[in-house]
């Protein structure tokens, strides 16, 4: 009896341990040669009949005249294309599993001023959402906390690995929700005056916190070895004050964008990224003038105002880009980050152009995050984070055939593809023998 009980307990434990785990095949590692593809390097010319050699997690060599090393596994890529992995400049991937279930939400910590909350500590490497995302060519995402004034510290992660350390892609930034004077969607029933009042209050709070952070940093620098009292939120802001870490400013409304530009200028913040920026098209010249890079999206959404031209959200990246703003894209999603290439495709169709749209999900975010030495283009010495496909990867008809993240050949299998395999022709079908 007790044996049976033990068996049952073991079985239950095994069940609970396996439930929710992305049950996909293991990746493999080792030297690989992709032979005969057209390589879309993004930063250099496109190379026809190209050989790309991957070794030790890096692109060892790339070019039409590169010889295939004897120890490399050869993948025939004739008629195929190779692209650098796509980078989503803003998601909640790994921090959210099920949209309506707060128990699976690790992106919105209690508190208004919590820059010390680090996304990297809470990213779930085994999220079922991750394999679903990467099978569409998205290899790297910014996983960002939301809510409050200072939401926390976002982290750039590669979508392969079993610990945060294995996934970390070399960038962190503090997220600031710039005080908003706009309505928070149709469910926001506040009067205009209430919204304005709340924004003024938040602005005052922001200035207070910033002043404290500046003073704390001065004190800390002056005291040297003998540290001042422990204020985790002020410590978390120090790298931003010192210009070693960017401040990611979430801002959408045109008026708020102008106020945010004024604020970062006044506070002399050296590294700033604007994120969201849905109404960037209204004030694109001003953003360009300030030289602040923008991560905008999602593109596939509605304009913010009923009187706006219907295609403003689609054209927003193009309008900013044409004004001279550095523009990267994001989905701002968790479960459908896989649609990043389609956000880029629609931005391309509405004025951004194919080339610039591709840059907006590869090299531009890599540059904004300061990781362009490793990611964002196909160049020798960079990370072997790339994919092989059978057509234009921004087109939904295109299939991704091979995908590598830091040299790991990641099987293109997700729970969604496994369900397809199981249920396309279910057995038993209608009749169970």
């Amino acid at each position: 009896m007790s044996n049976r009980l033990a068996l049952l307990v073991t079985a239950l434990l095994w069940l609970s341990a396996t439930m929710g785990v992305a049950q996909v095949p293991k990746g493999s590692y080792g030297p690989v040669a992709l032979v005969g593809a057209t390589a879309y390097t993004v930063t250099q010319d496109t190379i026809e009949n190209c050989t790309v050699v991957l070794r030790d997690g890096k692109i060892e060599a790339i070019g039409a005249n590169v010889s295939v090393p004897g120890d490399a596994r050869v993948i025939d890529c004739k008629g195929r294309r190779v692209y650098p992995g796509f980078i989503d400049g803003g998601t909640r991937l790994g921090l959210s599993e099920i949209g309506s279930d707060p128990r699976t939400h690790d992106y919105n910590e209690v508190g208004n001023i919590v820059p010390q909350m680090r996304a990297l500590t809470a990213v779930n490497p085994n999220s079922a959402l991750i394999p679903v995302t990467r099978v569409n060519g998205v290899t790297t995402v910014l996983s960002a906390p939301t809510g409050g004034l200072f939401s926390g510290t976002a982290a750039l992660i590669n979508l392969y690995g079993y610990t945060p350390e294995q996934m970390y892609a070399g960038f962190e930034g503090v997220v600031l929700n710039f005080p908003s004077t706009s309505r928070g969607g149709s469910n926001d029933k506040r009067k205009s005056e209430e919204i304005a009042k709340a924004a003024t209050k938040a602005m005052k709070k922001l200035d207070d916190v910033w002043q404290k952070a500046v003073e704390y940093d001065k004190l800390d620098s002056a005291l040297g070895e003998s540290k001042p009292d422990y204020y985790p939120e002020l410590i978390a802001l120090q790298p931003v004050l010192r210009g070693t870490m960017p401040l990611i400013v979430e801002v959408d409304d045109a008026g708020d964008i102008l106020r945010a530009l004024e604020w970062v200028r006044e506070k002399e913040i050296r590294k700033v990224i604007f994120a969201g920026v849905r109404e960037g098209w209204r004030v694109a010249d001003k953003i360009a003038e300030a030289g602040i890079p923008v991560i905008t999206g999602k593109v596939l959404t509605l304009p913010g105002r009923a009187y706006d031209r219907y295609d403003r959200s689609y054209a927003n990246p193009a309008i900013m880009n044409k004004a001279g703003v550095t523009v990267a894209l994001r989905t701002n999603e968790a479960n459908n980050v896989r649609n990043l290439p389609y956000n880029a495709g629609v931005a391309a169709a509405y004025g951004l152009g194919k080339e610039e749209a591709l840059r907006a999900i590869t090299i531009v975010p890599a540059q904004i995050f300061g990781v362009a030495d490793k990611l964002g283009s196909l160049e020798a010495g960079k990370d072997a984070t790339l994919f092989v496909c059978d057509g234009d990867p921004l087109e939904p008809a295109t299939n991704i055939l091979h995908l590598f993240i830091k040299g790991w050949d990641v099987p293109l299998v997700s729970r969604q593809t496994l369900l397809y395999d199981e249920f396309l022709h279910r057995e038993p079908g209608l009749q169970k023998p």
């Binding site: 009187y307 219907y310 921004l394």
Partner: protein, 459 residues
């Protein structure tokens, strides 16, 4: 004789205003030299399409335009039937009547808002016909409206597609159990309860119908003096469902609840059933096909709630391959603008052909709404509802450039002012933007979302 004629003439003249008021505005147009994606008759290159009095009058080469007919040069452009969305909540003043788990007497027609800018924005995505539905708060919700996007009128009745079959919303799973079970502490709190609530309502309706059928039978007899049974608006609607005069559009997600509704419908002899969302429809595709139900699904929406955590973007393809008439819907004022893009994802997820992919947003939803003899393909005799695209509509780089409804151009990218609102709220602060929620949330929840949250916070 002359006086009789005179009386007839007078009668006709008197009738005219009535008849005209009931007719939608229609137009003429000749669309020249486009690539026609007919959906049912293949692709026709360099072909003209003539619309007269709102109907497709001819398809062919070198058609001549009648006097005064608008000519549209579609050289290098793609011409397809106007897109149909079988699941929307736009153009509604209210979505959920949450006061009871059973509200079939509610009519969305009474809440139509022809001023909704979402109508114009959908037109700008090539959409011409939609079903706008009651929400998913109730196990048995209200009656839907099939409407054409005749944006520009302030009269709600002009939007309604004349003669379209009636539809009613049913809803299973988390939404009705959350609103009524968790929210109001009444049945249903579980999927067992949902089944019971639907079954009970239908049983009551069956009894009601029997009483009326008997009465109507008796009434024919000479000397019958009995009183009619009590008239009940709620049961009357459900009796019409039982008679096969109203199609059930059932919000559902999980495979188990899909089998449940198939069984309930089978028990009551109900055949007209369209499964809405049916994220796990793929798991019971043989059962759905065997029943003869149809399915209107999302392209790739998932994990926004627990009951859609085990779903797959291959759903539409699996259902199609198992013989289920499948459509892709939006359930969202943003997604409705890109249904062609949503359909294109099935080229990747399951490898549907281009024709199959286009059918998901044209002829298939038309079948589900019972209007396929009028719309859903480019065929002579069908309505002049046409969407014109730059690039193939299944390419990500496409841009809808013109949309015609009944032969009238309702969207033209070349002639598209910034502000297309019909009505402006004088109270509105001009610079007040309204940014929607960061994640597209499907609904069905709609206006109910805030209330749901309240319910939970107060519990």
């Amino acid at each position: 004789m002359r006086t009789v004629r005179f009386h007839i003439a007078v009668a006709l003249v008197l009738l005219i205003p009535v008849v005209v008021a009931a007719q939608p505005k229609v137009g003429d147009a000749l669309i020249r030299n486009g690539t026609l994606l007919t959906v049912t008759k293949g692709t026709l290159e360099n072909t003209d399409l003539l619309i007269r009095d709102g109907k497709i009058a001819a398809i062919g080469r070198n058609l001549t335009a009648p006097e005064g007919c608008r000519i549209i040069d579609a050289t290098g452009l793609f011409v397809m039937p106007g897109i149909i969305d079988a699941h929307s909540h736009i153009a509604l003043e209210a979505i959920n009547e949450m006061s009871s788990p059973v509200t079939p007497e509610i009519r969305m027609r009474d809440a139509l808002n022809p001023l909704d800018i979402a109508i114009y924005r959908a037109l700008a995505g090539g959409v011409t016909t939609i079903q706008t539905l009651h929400g998913s708060a109730n196990a048995i919700g209200g009656q839907s409206v099939v409407m054409k996007l005749r944006y520009g009128t302030v009269d709600p009745s002009e939007l309604v597609l004349e003669g379209a079959p009636r539809g009613i919303k049913f809803a299973l799973g988390e939404n009705p159990t959350r609103v009524h079970g968790a929210g109001h502490n009444i049945v249903p709190r579980t999927r067992m309860g949902v089944e019971f609530v639907i079954r009970s309502a239908l049983m009551e309706a069956r009894e009601y119908r029997k009483q009326w059928d008997e009465y109507n039978e008796q009434k024919k007899k000479r000397g019958f003096r009995g009183a009619p049974p009590r008239y009940d608006d709620r049961l009357e609607v459900l009796a019409e469902v039982l008679r096969g005069n109203i199609t059930i559009h059932c919000h559902c997600y999980r495979a188990d609840e899909i089998v449940m509704i198939l069984n309930v419908c089978r028990d009551f002899g109900i055949k007209k059933l369209v499964l809405q969302h049916a994220n796990e429809g793929f798991k019971v595709a043989p059962e759905i096909a065997d029943f003869g139900a149809m399915a209107s699904v999302f392209s790739d929406a998932w994990a926004y709630k627990f009951e859609v955590y085990y779903s797959t973007a291959y759903n539409a393809a699996i259902l199609t391959r198992n013989g289920v008439v499948t459509s892709i819907n939006s359930d969202d004022p943003g997604v409705i603008r890109r249904l062609y893009h949503e359909a294109s994802k099935t080229l990747k997820y399951g490898g549907l052909s281009r024709e199959e992919a286009l059918a998901l947003i044209t002829i298939n939803p038309a079948k589900q709404l019972g209007i396929d003899s009028r719309v859903g393909s480019l065929e002579v005799g069908k309505d002049g509802d046409v969407a014109i695209f730059r690039e193939h509509p299944l390419s990500i780089y496409t841009v809808p450039v013109m949309t015609l409804v009944d032969g009238i151009v309702r969207f033209d990218r070349e002639n598209d002012p910034d502000d297309m609102r019909i009505y402006v709220d004088p109270e509105e602060r001009f610079d007040q933007s309204g940014f929607s929620m960061p994640e597209s949330f499907h609904d069905c929840l709609g206006a109910a979302a805030a209330t749901f949250n309240q319910l939970f916070e107060n519990r």
